[in-house]
Amino acid sequence: MKTTPVKTPLILLFCSACLLHAQTQPPTFDAASLKPVATCNAPQDPQTGPGTLTIRGRTPLVLIQWAYDLPRSQVSGPPFLMENCFDLIAKGAGREDDAQLRLMLRTLLADRFGLKAHLEQREMQVYALTLAKGGPKFKESPTDGPPTVDRTNPVILSAHHMTLTEVGARIADEVGRPVTDETGLTGRYEIRIDLSPYIAAAGTADAGKLDMMSILFTGLTEQLGLKLESRKSTVPILVIDHAEKSPTEN
C-alpha cells in the first residue's frame, strides 16, 4: 500500500498557519469615508445594515462608544474627543453583523485617529435595572429586526426590538451613570413610555426644586414595570490612552 505520511501534516500545518494569520489580522472595512462636518446640529443614531455602517454628525467619542458598545459614563478620554463632528460611511466585504462591524470600526479608529485604549474594571455608583413588583409591562417583539429608537418626541421613549441591556445603555446617558441590566430578561422587546403625565408632578418652580430624574424613574416603574436602583458595582471602563485630534485623510 502506498502512503504519503509527510504531505498531509505539511498541508494541514500550512492551512493552520493561514487560518491563524486570518484570525489575528484585525477586521477592516472594504471601503470607508470619514469626513469632518461643520456642525453637530443634526446628529443621528448609528445606522447599520448587513455589512454597512453609517454614523452622521457625531463626535469621535460617539464612534468609540459604538465600537466598544459602551455608554458615555463608561468611556474615559480627553475632552477634544467631543469637539468635532464627522460623517462615517463604511462598507464591509460581505454581510457582516453589528458585532463584526464594531470590530471593524475599532480597526478604523486605530488607523485614522491612532486610537489606543484599554479596558479596566472599576467599582463605581451605577443604577441597576431590575423588575418592579408586578413584573414587566412590555411585550416581546413579534418580528425580527434591528433595534430602533424613535426620536420624534423627547417625552415619549419609543423603541423596537430592544434588549433590556440596550435600554439600559440608552438610559445611562440620561442618568449619568452606567446602568447594569439585572432583570434576567434576554429577549427583544417593544418599549414605549409617555413621560408627559409625570412632568407636572416632578416639581414646580414655586417649590424651589425640580426633580428631573423622578420623571424617568416613575415612568419606568409605572409604564414598564422596571426599577432603577442605585448601588455600587464593578463595571468595565474604556480608558483612552492615546488619540489624535484629527484623523488621517481618507
Partner: protein, 109 residues
C-alpha cells in the same frame, strides 16, 4: 469649511448659555433662563425636560454628579460639543445683527 447655520431654538440657546457659566440643576436652569431673557421666556417643566433629554442624547450637555446626591440637585454641564455649537450660534447671530444694522443704516441715508 463654512458652518451650517441652522438656528438653535430659543429654549435650547438659553439652556446652553446658562450652562456655559456653570453647571446647574433643573430648578436653577428654569430661573436662569428666565433671567437671561429678561423675564420674557419662562420654560415649562415639559419644555425643559424635552430639551434636556435631546441635549443629553446629542451629548451637548452631560449629567454631573455633585456632592449633594439628592436627585433634584443633580446638575447638568456643557460638553465641548455644546460649547462649540453655542459659539457657532453666537457667531451666526452676530453676523445677522451686523447685516441688519447695515441694512437699516443704508435705508436711513
Amino acid at each position: 469649511m463654512k458652518a451650517d447655520t441652522t438656528p438653535l431654538s430659543e429654549p435650547v440657546f438659553l439652556i446652553l448659555l446658562s450652562l456655559a457659566q456653570s453647571p446647574r440643576h433643573g430648578y436653577a436652569l428654569l430661573k436662569d433662563t428666565e433671567a437671561l431673557s429678561d423675564g420674557r421666556v419662562r420654560l415649562s417643566t415639559g419644555t425643559l425636560y424635552g430639551a434636556l433629554r435631546r441635549l443629553l442624547e446629542d451629548q451637548w450637555i452631560e449629567r454631573f454628579e455633585t456632592d449633594d446626591t439628592s436627585r433634584d440637585k443633580q446638575s447638568y454641564r456643557l460638553t465641548p460639543t455644546g460649547r462649540k455649537y453655542l459659539q457657532i450660534e453666537l457667531a451666526r447671530m452676530n453676523q445677522l445683527t451686523r447685516a441688519a444694522a447695515a441694512c437699516l443704516k443704508r435705508r436711513e441715508v
